[in-house]
Symmetry: D2
């Protein structure tokens, strides 16, 4: 079972233009600081949280209790001029879990309903829980020499962005996985338990549709952090051994070949 968390700022759009539009750089600053703090609060508890749209952020929160969610929610209210509603959703795939979390907030009221404030919904997985989180960490082969040092910065961005839009959509539609661009040339995907062949299919798809060569390190563990660290080491191993796909579990042991 995967546990995800949807963190949705309450009535944020109207807030940004009331009584009149706030300077964009102030809004960017607010959104970035708030996300930076969430990364801290969720990260300290061994979870992951992603920026998504800034006003809607997504956490992978296996191992984080409902009461800890309440603490994080209170911290937002006490450190920021805005509040957030928070829902925990669990499911057999990342997509199902987030869908579940989203429904809980939608039932609680519209994102622009001024009366819906600091709502907390949903239940965390019972603790301890041995469910595995699977994290896939993708990057672009030779991105610096082929792109960053060659093309205009925006051209590089558009190229990577297009490839990742294809990857994101493919992983979501085909595998019920949730993928997030995390800067540089990196995408982190929260996945079900997939085989190396399924990852190779994804790389093939991106090569064909967007002419972008990727590699991927895959890690597993009982928390997003453990799985994510394993994925990072797996990606380093791809680099060292010139492989396209490497899988490791949280102990650094490569799982038996699955395909």
């Amino acid at each position: 079972m995967l546990q995800t968390t949807l963190i949705q700022l309450d009535n944020y759009g109207p807030w940004t233009v009331t009584p009149e539009p706030q300077p964009e750089m102030k809004l960017q600053r607010l959104q970035s600081r708030l996300y930076a703090d969430l990364a801290e609060w969720v990260g300290t508890r061994d979870g992951y949280v992603f920026y998504l749209r800034g006003d809607n952020m997504v956490g992978v929160t296996n191992g984080i209790a409902r009461s800890e969610h309440a603490e994080i929610q209170a911290a937002i209210a006490n450190q920021y001029p805005v509040t957030a509603s928070v829902a925990i959703g669990t499911g057999s795939t990342p997509a199902h879990a987030l869908s579940e979390a989203t429904k809980q907030l939608q039932t609680a009221g519209s994102a622009q309903n001024p009366d819906r404030q600091s709502v907390l919904r949903g239940d965390a997985l019972a603790s301890p829980d041995n469910s595995q989180v699977h994290v896939a960490h993708f990057d672009v082969n030779d991105v610096t020499s082929c792109y960053t040092d060659q093309l205009s910065a925006f051209e590089t961005y558009v190229t990577i962005e297009r490839g990742y839009a294809e990857l994101m959509q493919y992983m979501y539609r085909t595998n019920d996985a949730l993928s997030f661009f995390v800067g540089g040339d990196n995408v982190i995907a929260i996945c079900p338990d997939l085989t190396p062949a399924q990852y190779r299919d994804a790389l093939d798809y991106v090569r064909e549709t967007a002419e972008l060569d990727l590699k991927v390190g895959v890690g597993s563990g009982t928390t997003a952090r453990a799985a994510g660290m394993a994925a990072k080491h797996a990606l380093e191993s791809c680099r060292d051994r010139d492989k396209a796909v490497t899988q490791l579990n949280a102990d650094g042991v490569q799982p038996p070949p699955g395909d």
Copy 2:
């Protein structure tokens, strides 16, 4: 003439995995805080700066002197564990200006050359300069009721993301404009002087290729901030008067119809 700035973290990729990969949430926190500070430093000087890939950030910096760029660069070095190389590029279109800035850094050395540190390149426009900055602020019609309150948070994201990938590419290829997702359902594009018909063509293109209905407020001024605030007011005016395209200059006066 438009003035852009490329801010590129020095040798950042290797830094994140030396001596071993850092926890992802620590990296996200670092990147977000650094961007939040840049938004402050550039914003206070009436410019805009966008996150792009996090390790490569793009500023629209008309009116900001080279010496102020040096101050911002020093502030990064003195507040963060990483340094940045910075290049100013000017050109008759946003794309040309950023291409110019990128070339300057590429000539100074690879993004992963450990010897290239805190390089500063390029010249700012002479001051005062009356060149107009044109900012287009796009958003999605009825995004809360049609998407946020209906679909799974990731489904909404994928839908908006795909539409904006199309918009971004269209505006770049057709109009030499640089577009950036700024959170929620908002894209800000730095554009040449375009006609309302050209903006309508962009909206049509997105509707056809991605089935997403957008509107756009366009503003002009001698700085990104002035142009951007006019664009925000223009977007509010679209909302109030149910129009797809509205243009305002920095004084809030609608320019003569250009098509």
Copy 3:
């Protein structure tokens, strides 16, 4: 047994003036952000940390393992342009514990020795440990009506500051307690197990030497946070019942009168 932590920035003084003095507001910003992050990192683990001199910060860290100290130390190095050396000291009184921590760092090298970087010294208490932390939270009676709303802001500050300097010194010399000004009209003291009479003596001393009327809420618990929250509730209880000294343990129960 009390566990304290000394966090000392490495070679910080020279860093601030090399190659030439940095703007003061940049230094203030750096020091404040670093402390704000430490407050987060230590606070999340139920400890307290105080600013002291900014380049030397003091934590009360019962319940925080040595490995967690290493994580916090790594976080400083990875988020800031400076590093810190860290020592854990334990002792039967707060003063002894901090003295122990200080000696460990002094033995490791001078605060301005460029070769002493990110040193970690000392051992945490075995876990679990039932040692009680005692926190006394002092404030000034009627500070707003008597001072803030009457005197010049600096006059108020000087008055409070003088009273607190006396309190700090008295508590240290007489009771081996460590007291810290935490803003407003608040001082938090980390104390041995003192009787209400001993607290009343301290209030009397400050009234006589500095003509300042204080009250104090005292709390106990196995962590700084638990003890500190009890102290805050005890202080609220002083306010409600117009008493000078109130003691509570972490469960909110008033301990049997000790004098």
Copy 4:
């Protein structure tokens, strides 16, 4: 003429305990981040701002317009969960100027009046204005070798703190100067135009009353930043030439001996 600014959080004390006391580390984090941002906002405009009591902060703001104060005030409201009232005061000495600023806020309402929110009072000096700001930067001789590397961290703190309490009070009562501890072993005083002899008297006073040996660099300029940078260079010059008092103006030229 000197221009100071008092920034007072609105009804902050009650906010920290409503509906119940917030965890101390969250409050410390909030106060530090808010001050760090003020340091940025005031510093970018060439002013200085000091923490004072955290809920009452003091700026030295020669050259900063009232409209810029309004921007800073709006930034607090838009980035934090609290608001601040702000008053500008001018006067022939620092003490008079701050007294003037304080009176303006006191007239506007109590610091704990829930109806006094985001009040802005007072007028900035006409611009341009050639009034000189005088900044004195004190530090302790051989603090690392005599104190930091020898005594317990708290003992060092108490020693420095006591000396600085004497200095602060002496400079205020004798010279109408405002002194602030800024971390490490540094105090920055905003002063009228004093002679070297007057500074030597202050050093003598601290040596006699608190047995602490200080030196001081004094700088002058039309802004706090210019004066403060000159003071820092003057302090470096004290170090190099083993002198107790050095004065420089903003151009780095030593003024004619005044005593």
